[in-house]
């Protein structure tokens, strides 16, 4: 931690500064928001070739138990409406932690390592998540925050070719595979996933190896460093939620339009239906629909519409019906894009509503997401 700023640093901090990263506070960390290339070019480069992201601020958490992997899965299922038992060794799944009111405490990735469950959680939520796990998981489960590893993401159409030069086995992986691979005497934890809508990998390496790994990658022509700015515009184009903005402790997974992350086994009539916090509300919403839902939004003009922009049914109606939760300019789709919440009756694709921007009502169309087709290698 820096004494001057009180901000934590990832193992790549000095490297970011050396590479011209513009450092900003994010979730308690001093992180690069962009490099000299700039947000627009970083975004486009990731879609065209390969982008390298430092995501070491995210929480890496290991769950272990002497009672074995099935007991671990059942334990985690009490906190998340996810079929954890169905995550096979070497596979990964997206899910959420819910609260008693059916809201979302965090969204996360769950990997089955064969003998443990490995979780990757949001930086801003990690201490709260760990406390939540320790408090609510049964006594046989040990919760360990992994603090001696860096986490890097390599994303884009050339990610596989680039990473395979260092770890040839990655060429055999498919979307959401998650493997432990011996690399030069240590163990790297690699998943074929990411948060950009691109094919790519997230690579957990021992902290001491992070800088050399990053240097090797950026020395390759196809690879550029990508900051948080482009990470945000990439995930927005991919229609992916940002926790604390598009989903939070008040939005249910059904409202958040991530019901797909709740498998049949955990829904009414499933083998392990319910049994997670907020199940009453969430199962009811799965059956009856939610009153409001997160949707994609296409501003009709050229003005970007940012988080907090209020939404209205018509150009004159007095009552606000919803709000934009993420929005900006999509460099690949070359237009403003946004997502936000609307009452169920306004969520049909193609519905025209209005946003109020600087005192003017401007038309917005409810749109399907992702805004740009994702290119995962399934």
């Amino acid at each position: 931690m820096s004494e001057m700023t009180g901000l934590k640093r990832t193992p790549l901090y000095d490297f970011h500064v050396e590479q011209g990263g513009k450092m900003v506070p994010f979730a308690g960390y001093d992180m690069p928001v962009q490099y000299p290339l700039g947000v627009m070019k970083e975004h486009l480069h990731t879609r065209a070739e390969a982008g390298l992201f430092d995501v070491s601020h995210m929480g890496q958490v290991m769950l272990t138990s002497p009672e074995g992997i099935e007991a671990l899965g059942l334990a985690l299922e009490t906190l998340a409406p996810v079929d954890v038992l169905a995550v096979k060794p070497g596979r990964q799944r997206y899910g959420v932690f819910t609260n008693d009111a059916g809201g979302i405490l965090d969204d996360l990735m769950i990997s089955n390592t064969g003998d443990a469950l490995f979780l990757v959680v949001n930086a801003a939520c990690k201490q709260q998540d760990i406390a939540h796990l320790i408090t609510h998981l049964p006594g046989h489960v040990t919760v360990t925050e992994i603090t001696n590893r860096a986490l890097l993401a390599l994303q884009g159409p050339k990610a596989e070719a680039v990473l395979a030069q260092i770890v040839p086995q990655v060429a055999e992986m498919r979307f959401m595979d998650s493997l432990r691979i011996a690399v030069g005497g240590s163990e790297w934890w690699i998943s074929r996933s990411g948060y950009t809508g691109e094919d790519g990998f997230e690579i957990s390496v021992p902290a001491g190896e992070a800088v050399d790994f990053a240097k090797t990658l950026v020395a390759m022509d196809a690879v550029e460093l990508i900051g948080l700015g482009a990470r945000d515009s990439l995930r927005l184009e991919a229609g992916l939620c940002l926790y604390g903005h598009d989903i939070d402790s008040t939005t249910s997974p059904v409202e958040g339009n991530i019901a797909w992350a709740m498998q049949k086994t955990r829904r009414s009539g499933g083998a392990r239906a319910g049994g997670f916090p907020g199940a009453d509300r969430i199962l009811s919403e799965l059956h009856n629909g939610a009153e409001r839902k997160r949707v994609g939004l296409l501003p009709q003009g050229r003005a970007p519409m940012r988080e907090g922009t209020p939404l209205f049914a018509t150009s004159e109606s007095a009552d606000q019906i919803g709000v934009i939760t993420s929005g900006g300019f999509g460099p690949s789709v070359e237009r403003p894009i946004a997502m936000g919440y609307l009452p169920a009756e306004f969520t049909k694709i193609g519905t025209e509503i209005y946003a109020e921007l600087r005192g003017k009502r401007l038309p917005v169309t409810v749109a399907d997401m992702p805004f740009r087709p994702s290119t995962y290698k399934r």
Binding site: Q34, G229, A230, A303, G328
Partner: protein, 123 residues
Amino acid sequence: MALETKFTEEHEWLRIEDDLVVVGITEHAATQLGDVVFIELPDEGTVVSKDDEVVVIESVKAASDILAPLDGEIVEVNEALANDPGKVNEDPLGDAWFFKMKIEDLSELDDYMSEAEYKTYIG
């Protein structure tokens, strides 16, 4: 009367052309903003007071405003810029002017920084 280009603390440059004040943003400001993707210009004929928000300028990252540097009337806006906002990054001191203002007394510009002073200001 100020003939040299003047600079504001808001990172605007001001230049006198044909008795009008031409307003743009500095290279430093353009770099800080990043790639500009949207510009909303005021209507020609708008009468403004100093520090009124007259232009909205948005990059991929964020939105910001350009303030009127002086009291006066907006007499001409750079429509070409609204159609090609990226020009702000390519040629902030030249093609990418935002608007031209008519003001009472051109000597009001004297209060603003010279280029040397501005360079010191941004460090």
